[in-house]
Structures are given as structure tokens and as C-alpha cells.
Assembly symmetry: C2
Homo-oligomer: 216 residues x 2
Amino acid sequence: MINRTMPRGPYKPGKIRQKSQQTMLEAAIQAFSQYGYSGTSMQSIADIAGVPKANVHYYFKNKLGVYTAVLGNILDMWDTVLNDITIADDPATVLCRYIDAKIDFSRTHPQESRVFAKEMLSGAPHLQEFLQAKYTTWLDNRLSIFRHWIKVGKMDDVEPTHLMFMIWGSTQHYADFAPQVTQSLGTDTLQQEHFDAAAKTVKQVILRGCGLTPPE
Amino acid sequence: MINRTMPRGPYKPGKIRQKSQQTMLEAAIQAFSQYGYSGTSMQSIADIAGVPKANVHYYFKNKLGVYTAVLGNILDMWDTVLNDITIADDPATVLCRYIDAKIDFSRTHPQESRVFAKEMLSGAPHLQEFLQAKYTTWLDNRLSIFRHWIKVGKMDDVEPTHLMFMIWGSTQHYADFAPQVTQSLGTDTLQQEHFDAAAKTVKQVILRGCGLTPPE
DNA sequence: TTAAAAATTGACCAGATAGACAAGATTTGT
DNA sequence: ACAAATCTTGTCTATCTGGTCAATTTTTAA
């Protein structure tokens, strides 16, 4: 997406283009996640990718094009989990699976999480479309399921929207506020065990807080 | 703090200097909270403050000086709450007070919250001293009180560090992810009632999740 | 092999930015 | 009132940045 040129004619496009773009996108997300949009220069992206700056301009229309491509990749990861829940499911199981998945995302994709967070902190100017379209329906569907569970007594009357915010906030924290977390836990780098302990506590509090008991 | 010149001699310093600096700091936090450090120009700060750019340079050593002054002001707000808790206190009361205070901070100081969050997201290069000194002892003191409450059975065995992260993450979310929150709640701007509902849900889940019952 | 398409790259440009500076205006203590 | 200190502000500069372009090299399909 966001290619400037779309190769045509007697030529099989793709391989070089795809690989180069991928390299540059990975360089870009690294830069954006640390320095933000304004703090990242095309030159620095090129340096990280190990190519001349003009090469980045060849594959992307401009700096905003690189950024929106990065953002698009991140948004594509959005609904991987909690996508197939139904009214028949067990709330405790669903919440556990979601919390585990979110914590795991903070562990395996901290850079993506930070780019997303920085965009939000800047007022989400490039997420309006996403928020109004894809996200809203995604959320509404899940909220209605939670509301049903509450109505039939499967869980306590906890306002579902704010419950979701609690889970998001609690789990994102481990990626976005990593310096504070590492300092608090007295470690240099966050290890698997730290994320496991985090998931355990979040699940314990959320489930109990909703009047649920851990599955199995 | 971070003044370039410290007036001396037969002259009563302060009034003009203090007022001008205050105006510029308010302009600066507004700019930094939205556009980040790199995205904010000295010119934009001057424009917001309504003064020529050279005036900003007169009162602050350089751009980093403005930023660290802003950051320092924010850090000074840190321990206003949860500062005087003791072992004798009631856990439920303390947690409620803290959650209310944090949510209220997100409501009344969203810009400060966002500047702090952006600094964290960038790896907190200017917070190392704060994190290692003031913050660590602050946290350790509170954690030991939580651990005592757990030991004597006043609350469930919930890992206190991660419990604190849950509260921080959940409450910060309303300032830092405001675009997502407003979209989810179907409103244009967050009102008092939304923050009240947020505080209610967070308190409900956290307290119940720790095996506590709401006070009085 | 070869010609067209695609990819690479160095050089260049216009605008923005942080910061310096000096001249002038204002405030202060006496 | 007046001199010293502080404050204000227009102007200037060196540097950085996003973006363009044309020349060269590499890859591809026939």
C-alpha cells in the first residue's frame, strides 16, 4: 500500500520491491516508536535500513506515506483476538484469553504498541477513519455480548466499555511505560516471567472483579 | 528552575520574570503535549504565549531547558495523593481515594499526563534520575504497606506492583487515549459524568478483585 | 543477447529551525 | 530624576530536513 509507482508492462514486479519495502518499514517503525513522527528523519530511516535516503523516497510517496504504511500494518494486527466470541462462550474463558493475548502483544510487539500510543497521544489525527469505521463496529459487537452476559447473570454488572478500557490500559502499560515498569520490578529488561506475573495479576483482579472464577 | 540568568544587584527580581516564565511554560506544555518535543518549535511556543521568539530564549537556556522545566513542573505534582497512608489505614478506603485522585488528574491535567506519557514512550531519557531516586522510594514504601495488608489478611494476595500498574494504566488511559475513549463512549468531549462512571467501574473491579468491599 | 523496465544513488534545492546578538525600551532602587 | 539592571524584540546565521532529479546500474522478459 501507499506505493508511488505501480509497475506495469512486460515485467514481473514484486520480489525486490516487496523486500525493500519490508526492510524500510521495519526501519521506520523502529525510528517512529522511539522518536515519534516529527523526531524521525527520512535520513535516519534510510540509515537504519542501510540504504541511501533517495531510495526511501523511491518506494514511498513521502514521509507521511511511510508513516501511514507503518500505521496500516499495525491496524491490521488489531482484531486477531477476541474476534470470534459468541454469546454461548464462557465469560471467564474469553476474558482470560483476551488478557493473555494483549499482554503477549505488549511483549512481542512493543514498538507497534508505542507507535499506536503516540498517535493516540497526539490526538489520533490519522486514526479517525479507523476509529469511526472498523473499530466502532468491532467494539459494539463485543459490548453487546458482555451486556448479554450481564443480563443473564453470567457476570457482575460491570460497565463493559470501562471494563475494556481497564484491560487495554493495564496491558498496554507494559509496553508503553516500560521504563517505569522495569524500574519498579528492579530489572534491566522485561523477561517472560514478568509478563506472566503481569497476566496472572490482571486476570486475577479482572475476573474476581467481575464476579467470575478462573476457568477449569 | 533552569533560568539562564539569575538577577543580582540592587534590583528586586521576580515579578516580571515569574509571570513571563509561567506564561511561556503554559504555552510550552500545550505545544509539547500535542506535538511532542521534536514537533514543537520555539516559534510555536512563542506564538502561543504571544511574545517574540527571542523572548523565550531570554528566559530559558534552550529548547531542552523549556522541556525539562515543563517536565519538572509535572514531576512536582506526583506525590500529592497516597502520600500519607499508613498500615493502620483501611485498604479499601485508600484504594478508592487513590483511584478517584488519579481519574481526577486525568480529567483536570490531561496535557501534563500526555507529556509524561510521551516521555515514557520515548524511553524516559529525561526521567532516569527521577525514576531511580524519588520514585523508587515512593513506590517501595507503598508496596510494603500493601504487602503488610496482604500478610494480615486485610486483602487478597494480589501482587502489589502489578496492582499499581493496573490502577495507573486504567486511570491514565482516560487522558492518554482520549480519542479512543471519546469515540467508544459516543461523545465529543469527555464530561464529568464519564469520569465518574470510569472511577466507579475501576473502583468496583479493583476492590472486588482484591477481595475488598467498598467503604461505609 | 538485448532492450525496456525497475532500482540505486549522489547531488542539489527551498524552507524551516534553534540559537546568537545587539540595539532599544522599560523597570527598579536610590 | 537618573543610572543601572532587566526586559523586549527585529534581524541574522548555520544547520537540518523533506523532497526532487538525472545519471548510472541492475534486473527482467523476449
